[in-house]
């Protein structure tokens, strides 16, 4: 799977995504740092795709069992993370009434 050209590709992606992340997150208002953390947490739970494949392919009992728990853990992060981020952002209101649509 991981041939050396795949490895180089992966490293390129990792480094470039790290740069994008750095530049994008530097611009996030400190006002929203808590929702930012719960959002990145939900996005990070994309690891669920790896766990889904483990469960779905069912190559061994062990891999399916570990994958099963992993899917539960990641899904709870996705659901809980998006829910609480949404709840928090809903609370942020401006004092200018025009901001309300």
């Amino acid at each position: 799977m991981a041939s050396s050209s795949n490895l180089i590709n992966a490293l390129f992606i990792f480094v470039l995504a790290g740069f994008i992340g750095f530049e994008v997150i530097r611009r996030v208002s400190p006002l929203l740092h808590t929702p930012l953390m719960s959002l990145t947490n939900a996005l990070d739970a994309i690891a669920v795709v790896g766990a889904i494949v483990l469960v779905g392919e069912h190559k061994s009992t062990l891999s399916a069992a570990l994958g099963f728990i992993a899917v539960i853990a990641a899904t709870s992060n996705i659901v809980g993370g998006f829910l609480i981020t949404d709840r928090m952002l809903r609370m942020f209101k401006s004092s200018r009434p025009a901001a309300k649509p």
């Binding site: 991981a2 490895l7 992966a10 992606i13 990792f14 480094v15 995504a17 992340g21 750095f22 530097r26 996030v28 400190p30 006002l31 740092h33 808590t34 929702p35 930012l36 953390m37 719960s38 959002l39 990145t40 947490n41 996005l43 990070d44 739970a45 994309i46 690891a47 790896g50 889904i52 494949v53 469960v55 779905g56 069912h58 062990l62 891999s63 570990l66 994958g67 099963f68 728990i69 992993a70 899917v71 539960i72 990641a74 899904t75 709870s76 992060n77 659901v79 809980g80 998006f82 829910l83 609480i84 949404d86 928090m88 952002l89 609370m91 942020f92 209101k93 401006s94 004092s95 901001a99």
Partner: protein, 465 residues
């Protein structure tokens, strides 16, 4: 890979690409509260696309088990999305633990599926994945326990602590290197994970409650990096991108938090702050302080033009934020300009204080960051400090012997009048005496934050009608 397979594989990869773009947009839209909710939608759509794309994958045969796991995860996730806002820090720590658990389990499963037929590179990143993942699982659980106050908040230190920690990490890395060279030694793998789990516990034990904002951010970064390592193992670009985004987010927040506390990373992790605290608390002398009643405080506040409220975690502990909002309303109605000065470490995690005040319906454009508001204190009539202590301590600016010397603070002492709501003269969380309280322009308002703010509000409305 055969030609007919490549077709569906391309579709899946394109779906992953779209999901990656949506994830980046999602974070970009978090830059302002007006666009932030688009960010959630982008994230949700990206996530849904990625999961659906994955379910299309050719090798998947067992959908029933996936459905059960997704359902169970959702059932656990919903209450975790509904916790009280004061409990968000421990919830976040818990979700770091869940994320890292997923990564560690998938890494372990991949190892047992592939070993001993595993390349050296793959074994190296897999080791990084499970070691980082493992220590994040237990480290985050410990942090959550401390924040929930199930575990003692005080730092626990013992002689040779750092030596033991380094030794454990070295053994884990040693096993990793051995497995890279001899992947057939499958029996060693569980030991590597157990040591990583133990290391996570020992790493957090010496860290005190005041350092939690940095620790949470750091664990966030670790969780992201372990997910990125998992992306390398599974050759999943989407996962590498999501992990890199999360990792850089955690890193940036950790840097901001350590700067706000004037500490270095290594100092937070290996410094054992607790010892400094004990030394500083000693040697207090009786100095005169001036105090005022709620009636006097209300009179001073209503005579002011500009007021800056400085909330600290003590305000949230006393559940006073809703009373503070009533005070904000009463003063605004009288034409007083009220703003809130937010120190980066005012809550238990980055940005926590903003969420607590927003929950009490205080408009976010009234919440001003430290760097922006510090220049305004000399033109401010009243600075009202509620449940904050060290972040207002002028010794951080002037006293080179103070343990918090150099820490950026809110310059409340420069306001014409400072009023501090505090239970007693006992030194705060970090045990450091605050010379602010003995200044001529300072008034102490002794009492419980919620009750005291409530009586000020009563005085204000009583005087009005």
């Amino acid at each position: 890979m055969t030609a007919e397979l490549a077709g569906s594989q391309i579709v899946i990869e394109v779906v992953y690409l779209i999901a990656s773009v949506l994830f980046i947009l999602s974070l970009k839209w978090m830059s302002s509260p007006t666009s932030a909710r688009h960010g959630i939608w982008a994230g949700e759509v990206g996530m849904l696309l990625a999961i659906c794309g994955t379910l299309l994958q050719h090798g998947i045969i067992d959908y029933r088990l996936i459905a059960i796991a997704l359902t169970l995860g959702t059932i656990i996730g919903i209450p975790l999305g509904r916790v009280a806002m004061t409990a968000v820090p421990q919830r976040t720590a818990l979700s770091h633990a869940f994320g890292a658990l997923c990564v560690t389990l998938v890494g372990s499963a991949e190892f047992y599926l592939r070993a001993p037929d595993i390349s050296r590179f793959l074994m190296s990143v897999l080791s990084v994945e499970v070691i980082l993942g493992g220590l994040t699982v237990t480290g985050s659980l410990m942090a959550a326990g401390k924040l929930q106050e199930i575990l003692p908040q005080r730092p626990l230190t013992y002689k040779g602590q750092n030596f033991v920690n380094f030794l454990l990490l070295a053994v884990a890395l040693g096993i990793a290197v051995y497995l890279v060279l001899h992947p057939d030694a499958r029996g060693l793998f569980p030991f590597m994970i157990l040591i990583a789990l133990a290391f996570g516990v020992l790493l957090i034990i010496p860290i005190g409650g005041a350092d939690m904002p940095t620790v949470i951010s750091l664990l966030n970064g670790y969780a992201g990096l372990s997910a990125a390592a998992m992306g390398f193992v599974l050759d999943s670009k989407l996962l590498i991108i999501a992990g890199a985004l999360d990792g850089s987010s955690g890193l940036i927040l950790s840097i901001i938090m350590s700067k706000a506390m004037n500490r270095s990373f290594t100092n937070v992790l290996f410094g054992a702050f607790g010892q400094v605290q004990g030394a500083a608390a000693a040697g207090q002398e009786e100095k005169p302080v001036r105090s005022a009643t709620a009636e006097e405080a209300a009179a001073i506040l209503s005579a002011a033009n500009k007021v800056i409220v400085v909330p600290g975690y003590g305000m949230a502990v006393a559940q006073a934020q809703h009373k503070v909002r009533e005070l904000y309303d009463a003063l605004t109605k009288r034409g007083v300009e009220v703003r809130f000065a937010i120190h980066p470490v005012a809550g238990r995690m980055p940005g926590h204080m903003n969420v607590l005040l927003a929950e009490a319906d205080i408009p976010y454009d009234r919440l001003i960051e430290m760097d922006e508001i510090n220049g305004d204190f000399p033109q401010t009539d009243v600075a009202l400090v509620i449940g904050a202590n060290d972040v207002t301590n002028p010794a951080a600016r002037t006293d080179t012997t103070s343990p918090i010397y150099g820490m950026p603070i809110l310059d409340v002492d420069k306001a014409h009048t400072v009023m501090v709501i505090k239970r007693s003269m006992n030194p705060g969380f970090a045990g450091i005496d605050n010379p602010l309280y003995y200044l001529d322009n300072n008034l102490m308002l002794f009492g419980d934050a919620k009750a005291f703010v409530g009586s000020i509000v009563r005085e204000l409305s009583g005087g009005h009608g």
